[in-house]
């Protein structure tokens, strides 16, 4: 990818003293087949490389014979007649020529629906979800989403409503041409220019009798984009070229038919013809789509000159790869955070708990240079000493919360579901407590069976009850692939088709349950089991689909189809499995995944630091899918320990971890933190007093605070269900709500005890700072507090106000 770019940037300085180098043209020669074949030329001053500037829009193109081939100002070649010709490219004193051969040009060209017409409908946006591929189409004209159902599209164009949309006698009078050219009113506006190549192709298709889609037509098997990566500066442009490879090995330039989208318009913009303009600094891809295939071209627009990283020291491979990215992007990371900040951050991220003042004191006072590593080991229970590994239960509780959210473990308020819910909760918690390897954890979920009371993971098959839900959940949870779109149509941003979707669903088509009386007559125990039969059919073709993993080959198991699925899924060869896991944990700890959204991993949504993603995946696989080691390697990196305060230089970076991303403490740890500070424990319904919010097993708790702060009800496997953002309701609740006020003023609470103790006012002020924000107050803060104390009519009221202010401070409410 672009790891070498920063260094190379230095090498592309102007070399004016030398003779002008030759122009490089891609492709160096062109064969056009048939009337409507087109090819996009790319022109550079040197061979294609990330640092090679694009000259396509700066050169002049001329055709030696316009009756054979024409060329546009942007270098797009179109066939005009059979024969040979030459395209000359001129730039100042430099020239290049490209030989062109045109064959198969005909007065009555064949225009296959699948290769010519459907792509045009996609390119023009006719079959987009918001246009004619919406549920009821537009104006009665219905197309399938991105053309996944060619028969439907063909019928709509040619047969529907007594052929009113097509005119075989006078093709130009066809309604479906007059509308997008605005010869008659069209709600979608002008989408097609009369005389354009698209228009001509459509007319020719009608003249040819409007042939329909063919069953055994060749399909696009891959899509390539040139250049794949570019190192650019704001203001620069780059023409893209898209080439499709078909199942019969034909390679066809489809630049004029492909769709181009910028994935970050603050960095890049792109025209429908694939001309990219760099709008700002950063890193962003252009997504290119054609006939169910998608790919990207990645652009890096550095923030500045290559970074120096003067005081940077790599603590592990994460730092090496992060530093490489910083250098490439010209980002100077913030410095390392102080000890007090680190211990609070580490506690909250590892165990969902804020540290006690004595723990902060001891850590800050500790002069051991390895103390941060040692703290991480203690928090994760990796010291090997039972007397030091005292946080393991909190670790298990906190990460159980995370996985309970994702696995949607909830009763939904149904009391009858409690036993099942607890079984799954306890299984997750035991898995976390014993640091069960993640591949084993997932295998147990995917192949779960048996009693929903005795086998925690069997709940997976009660939460998700049909093969579609299971396919979608499994792919999203464990591969980060959002497959749901492909249930109804070809995935718009991915390569996955309905056949892919239902073939994946076929792994789950034989799951059923039986009743059992082992838990007694009142037990209502259900047992998840595999039935002998049950298949999935393609909803459109009716074809029975064999189980097939995404991007894999068909696989079958006579007794349980999930067994080969689990093997495939968790195999080290399936790197998507490891990538998905490490991406999630990166996002939990660093505040942002290498891919965002974290559970939307696809070729068109690349990681911000691909090398880091791969290295973390390698580390995770090599560790035996050890989640604690994954957390450890991240938390002990310098990258994790950077200060959250951005520098002027890196302030605009939100993707590359140049400064620690400030995160709102999630609902449950936040409530626990408030309880810990105030010394007033929240009582949760049907759970003994002392149960912490991070230990709550169910998604359903009638707790206003938790609901306000976004505790998910576990209705979705999407990470997005837990809203990480702060909002006005939360602010109003902590500012004005009675929960916080009641806890602060509790007569048996922490503050009441402090006020009743022998501690001086200054000591109490310090104690409150330590307990809330994990540090001692500054002199200024002490002075201000004293001033308010002096002005306050009541000592009690002042300290209640101080604690209230601290609990409402960003330093308390956020991990920073």
């Amino acid at each position: 990818m672009v790891t070498r770019l920063a260094v190379m940037l230095l090498l592309v300085a102007p070399t004016a003293a030398h003779a002008a180098p030759p122009l490089h043209v891609t492709p160096p020669d062109v064969q056009l087949q048939g009337n409507f074949d087109q090819t996009q030329l790319l022109v550079t001053g040197a061979a294609l490389a990330p640092e090679t500037a694009d000259l396509t829009t700066q050169v002049e193109f001329t055709s030696s014979d316009a009756s054979v081939v024409t060329v546009s100002e942007t270098g797009l070649l179109k066939a005009a007649g059979n024969g040979q010709a030459e395209i000359t490219i001129t730039s100042d004193e430099r020239t290049a020529t490209v030989p062109v051969t045109v064959a198969g040009y005909s007065d009555s060209p064949s225009v296959p629906f699948d290769q010519q017409i459907r792509p045009i409908l996609s390119r023009l946006g006719c079959n987009a979800g918001e246009c004619h591929a919406s549920q009821f189409g537009k104006g009665g004209f219905v197309l399938s989403v991105v053309g996944f159902d060619p028969n439907l599209d063909f019928n709509s164009l040619v047969r529907d409503r007594q052929q009113r949309r097509i005119n075989f006698v006078q093709p130009e009078e066809s309604l479906f041409l007059k509308k997008p050219t605005m010869q008659v009113p069209h709600g979608g506006g002008q989408r097609l220019l009369k005389g354009s190549s698209y228009y001509d192709t459509l007319v020719a298709w009608i003249r040819a009798g409007a042939p329909g889609p063919k069953k055994d037509t060749t399909k696009v098997t891959s899509l390539e984009v040139w250049p794949q990566e570019r190192l650019v500066k704001p203001g620069e442009t780059q023409q893209l070229r898209a080439v499709a490879r078909y199942s019969d090995d034909r390679v066809v330039d489809v630049t004029h038919l492909a769709k181009f989208d910028s994935m970050d318009e603050a960095v890049l913009s792109v025209t429908p013809t694939g001309l990219v303009t760099v709008e700002g600094k950063g890193q962003a891809p252009i997504m290119v789509r054609f006939e169910g295939q998608a790919n990207i071209a990645l652009f890096v627009s550095p923030y500045g000159e290559p970074a120096q990283l003067a005081d940077w020291e790599n603590r592990n491979f994460i730092d090496e790869l992060a530093a490489s990215k910083f250098r490439e992007l010209g980002i100077e990371p913030s410095h390392v955070c102080d000890d007090a900040t680190f211990i609070r951050r580490a506690y909250l991220d590892a165990i969902g708990t804020i540290p006690q003042p004595d723990e902060v004191h001891a850590f800050v006072a500790d002069e051991d240079p390895a103390k941060r590593d040692r703290l991480v080991d203690r928090l994760l229970g990796l010291t090997g000493d039972p007397n030091l590994d005292v946080f393991n239960d909190q670790y298990a509780a906190y990460w159980t919360l995370k996985w309970s959210d994702l696995l949607r473990n909830t009763t939904g308020g149904q009391r009858a579901d409690e036993q099942r819910m607890w079984a799954m909760h306890n299984w997750i918690r035991e898995s976390m407590r014993t640091n069960k390897p993640f591949d084993q954890f997932v295998r147990e979920v995917v192949t779960a069976k048996g009693s929903i009371y005795s086998s925690g993971p069997a709940s997976y098959y009660r939460v998700f009850r049909n093969s579609s839900d299971l396919a979608e959940a499994t792919s999203q949870l464990f591969l980060g692939v959002r497959l749901a779109c492909a249930k109804c149509h070809h995935h718009p941003f991915e390569k996955y088709s309905q056949a892919d979707y239902y073939s994946f669903a076929a792994f789950f088509s034989r799951i059923g349950t039986k009743n059992s009386e082992e838990f007694g007559l009142f037990g209502r125990e259900a047992v998840v089991m595999v039935r002998n039969s049950g298949d999935v059919r393609h909803p459109r073709t009716g074809q029975v689909l064999k189980p097939r993993p995404l991007d894999g080959d068909e696989m079958e198991h006579e007794l349980d189809r999930r067994i080969p699925l689990a093997e495939w899924l968790t195999s080290p060869d399936n790197r998507d499995f490891a990538r998905n896991a490490v991406n999630r944990y990166v996002s939990y700890l660093l505040g942002r995944g290498l891919v965002e959204p974290v559970d939307d991993m696809r070729a068109t949504n690349p990681p911000t630091n691909p090398a880091l993603m791969e290295a973390l995946a390698d580390h995770f696989i090599d560790s035996g899918y050890d989640l604690k080691q994954l957390i450890r390697v991240i938390m002990t990196s310098r990258l994790y320990q950077l200060d959250s305060q951005p520098t002027e230089q890196n302030a605009s970076d939100s993707k590359f971890y140049s400064h620690f991303k400030v995160k709102r403490i999630p609902a449950e740890p936040l409530l626990d933190a408030i309880d810990q500070v105030t010394g007033v424990q929240t009582k949760f319904k049907s759970l003994p007093l002392g149960t912490r919010a991070i230990e709550l097993p169910d998604g359903e708790y009638p707790n206003y605070f938790l609901n306000t702060f976004g505790k998910p009800r576990r209705a979705s496997v999407c990470e997005c269900e837990r809203m990480p953002d702060e909002n006005l309701g939360q602010a109003l609740h902590t500012l004005n709500g009675d929960i916080l006020a009641t806890k602060i003023a509790d007569k048996k609470g922490r503050l009441a005890q402090l006020l009743a103790s022998d501690m001086s006012d200054a000591e109490i002020i310090t104690e409150l700072y330590l307990r809330t924000v994990g540090r001692e107050p500054t002199n200024s803060e002490v002075a201000t507090a004293r001033q308010f104390l002096d002005e306050s009519p009541s000592r009690d009221v002042f300290f209640q106000d101080l604690l209230w202010a601290l609990l409402n401070s960003k330093q308390f409410l956020f991990v920073r």
């Binding site: 039972p386 306890n426 059992s516 009386e517 009142f522 595999v530 007794l559 349980d560 049907s686 003994p688």
Partner: protein, 697 residues
């Protein structure tokens, strides 16, 4: 006649016209505290019930070596009236040679036999939970070994116990909680215990166990020296004052299973114990002089004996699964037919195949005995032909037409052609392991019948009659009539044993009559059914089955159900609400298409003025639990007067024979008078036997 059979039946409030006031009921035992008693000791326990236990005079306990007595004096209150005693003291004396494990017990008093309670017999000292042990700080100190008895008495209750380990030791924690509740008549949610052991110093969890024996956990852990906390709670943090538990904690090996699981009578074999902490080999001889079936045996281990562990003593020649691969048609282990096969699903996805030769027309049965005795195996069994084509399959079996078990059974499969066949066995979930032992019966299908009793107790008073219903499920071609018998009646009680008619009849009854001078007493009875089965024109065999008593249980929402138990007790108590059910005739003969009315008169106890409903079907809501009327004979409700309101005592039942009613000679029936006890229960009083005949034209 003053027949009384009190039975717990559910009735929807709308259907229980009239009384919602409690009438006379037998005691329903709800809990015993402590729930365990130590071998070689006599200990006192508190028994809690619904409905009064006043007058209880005896305690019946299953098995040998344990006797119980009522300790609480049964004295009238200061007002001279009987107090409502729902808590009494019992004493259990456990002999030195008593077998550890769970015993059923019940008390007997003037209102008959109670429902069943359970008592755990343990070799270790019993430690009773002390109040206020609900937090780690208040953990109750215990010495090990011990059997800790406590109660998860309310929601959010958590019990903590503190113990010390002096040297590296493996400790086993065997918890019984849920399994002690199946017999409790009205406990509609059962405990689901979870055990967690924590380091007492750091509070960190060192081990946890949830569900091993259904909801009951078993935990085995290697402990380093130190101090520990045992946390006991319901997994949901639910609670109930009746949720008792007994946790046996010791360093003794705990044997869960043996392999081979089935042993032929009279043979001696090395059994491999599946044990925590370690397996071993123990020699065992299956006795010749005991009936075949599952036995709980104790094997010598170390200086003592193991806990009881189930073994199948087989009358069939036993084949032990060979050590090699036997998972395919080609590698199937050859067995001679018939056979009892002892095997084990050793590992995940293991499949065991056994090949046998059979002739066309043979009828073959296959039964897996495993999960009923807590094998890990949830079996699925198939019969395949030599080409591997599945011919028959079964996952779960059903007994008595009432209860489902995760063992498998194929019955009466007809061999389609001479040849080689395969019995294929695996875990339905493709699991496996040491504890996945099984015994597989592969044998000729023999005609037989299952027999079950509705309820596990019958209450009469002197001079009255009571009725016991039995239901048959016929198997493997048997279709004949079944004659009922009863053994072990208490002194002063006689029985008129009815029959279960051939054809569509599944139910029969036994009417008991207590002598007018019968003393208050009780005994456990045994009901048998016998039948002649004609094999061919020249051969008739006699079939006999001992009936399975069923504890009746009422279900959430108003249903009625049954749970198999070990004893049915007949008790003579004192008179209750209905003193007599008189019929105008004891013999009734109908011709097809004819109707006849029987006049019924009840005698009410003094002051008893509640509604009484007459019936000849033992039914609840839409379910019929006993239909002893002959086929084609029905009650004409429009012509009958079955509801006796207030002080009414006379009613009538009109029976009609259908035009095609088959001929029947003197089928024994009973007319019952039902009294609502509360919204969900009614007491059933019975007439003397009524013999119904259908004669041809």
């Amino acid at each position: 006649m003053r027949p009384v059979l009190l039975t717990a039946l559910l009735a929807l409030p709308l259907l229980t016209a009239g009384s919602a006031e409690a009438q006379t009921s037998y005691p329903m035992l709800m809990s015993l505290k402590p729930v365990a008693a130590r071998i070689g000791t006599t200990t006192e326990h508190e028994l809690e019930s619904r409905y009064s236990m006043f007058g209880a005079y005896d305690v019946l306990v299953t098995g040998e070596g344990v006797t119980g007595t009522v300790v609480t004096p049964m004295e009238p209150g200061k007002d001279g009236k009987e107090p409502s005693l729902t808590k009494i003291k019992l004493s259990f004396a456990v002999a030195e040679d008593a077998r550890p494990g769970v015993r059923d017990f019940r008390i007997v008093g003037p209102t008959g036999a109670s429902t069943l309670g359970q008592l755990v017999i343990t070799p270790d000292p019993v430690v009773v939970e002390q109040p206020k042990n609900d937090t780690p700080d208040l953990a109750q100190a215990i010495e090990l070994p011990a059997t800790v008895c406590g109660v998860i008495e309310k929601g959010e209750d958590v019990d903590y116990y503190r113990f010390t380990v002096a040297e590296p030791t493996t400790l086993n924690f065997h918890c019984r909680g849920m399994r002690l509740e199946d017999r409790i008549h009205d406990l509609q949610q059962h405990v689901d215990p979870i055990l967690t052991v924590k380091n007492a110093t750091t509070g960190s969890t060192v081990a946890a166990a949830d569900n091993t024996y259904a909801a009951d956990p078993f935990l085995s852990h290697d402990f380093a020296p130190g101090e520990y906390l045992l946390e006991v709670r319901d997994v949901r943090y639910a609670g109930n004052r009746y949720w008792t538990y007994a946790i046996e904690i010791s360093s003794r090996p705990f044997v869960s299973h043996v392999h081979p699981f089935g042993v032929a009578k009279g043979t001696t074999i090395e059994l491999q114990t599946v044990a925590a902490p370690a397996a071993g080999l123990v020699s065992f001889t299956a006795p010749m002089d005991e009936p075949a079936g599952v036995r709980d045996i104790r094997l010598p281990m170390g200086e003592g004996l193991t806990n009881p562990v189930p073994v199948v003593v087989s009358e069939l020649p036993v084949v032990i699964e060979s050590g090699g691969e036997n998972g395919t048609l080609e590698t199937a282990q050859e067995v001679a037919f018939p056979a009892g096969i002892s095997g084990r699903i050793e590992s995940a996805a293991d499949i065991d195949c056994f090949a046998f030769e059979a002739k066309k027309g043979d009828r073959i049965s296959v039964e897996v005995v495993a999960r009923r005795h807590w094998s890990g195996l949830d079996s699925i069994v198939r019969i395949l032909n030599a080409d591997g084509k599945p011919l028959q399959e079964n996952d779960d079996l059903r007994l008595w037409g009432k209860r489902t078990y995760q063992d498998s059974m194929i019955e009466n499969w007809t061999v389609p052609a001479d040849g080689r066949y395969i019995v294929e066995l695996r875990d339905v979930h493709l699991r496996g392991g040491d504890e996945f032992v099984y015994y597989l019966k592969l044998q000729q299908s023999e005609p037989y019948f299952e027999l079950s009793l509705d309820t596990d107790k019958t209450w009469l008073s002197p001079g009255t009659s009571a009725v016991i219903f039995a239901r048959a499920v016929r198997k493997n071609g048997f279709t004949g009539e079944i004659q009922l018998h009863i053994d072990g009646l208490p002194e002063g009680v006689t029985a008129s044993c009815g029959r279960i008619l051939a054809g569509k009849g599944n139910d029969g009854c036994i009417v008991l009559t207590a002598a007018k001078d019968a003393a208050m007493t009780a005994s456990n009875i045994r009901v048998r059914g016998t039948a002649d089965h004609k094999v061919d024109d020249e051969t008739t065999i006699t079939l006999e089955t001992v009936a399975q008593p069923m504890q009746e249980t009422y279900m959430p929402g108003g249903g009625r159900n049954h749970w198999p138990v070990e004893m049915h007790t007949v008790a003579i108590g004192r008179p209750a609400d209905v003193l007599d059910v008189k019929l105008s005739t004891s013999e009734l003969t109908l011709k097809p298409g004819e109707s006849t009315t029987i006049d019924v008169e009840i005698t009410r106890a003094e002051g008893f003025d509640k509604n009484v409903t007459l019936d000849m079907l033992f039914q609840h809501l839409s379910s019929k639990y006993a239909i002893t009327l002959p086929e084609g004979v029905t009650i004409d409700l429009k012509k009958s007067k079955t509801l006796l309101t207030a002080k009414e005592s006379k009613g009538a039942i009109t029976l009609t024979a259908a035009a095609n009613a088959p001929v029947v000679d003197r089928q024994q029936c009973s007319v019952m008078a039902n009294v609502s006890i509360n919204f969900v229960m009614k007491a059933t009083y019975s007439s003397p036997p009524l013999f119904v005949s259908v004669k041809g034209e």
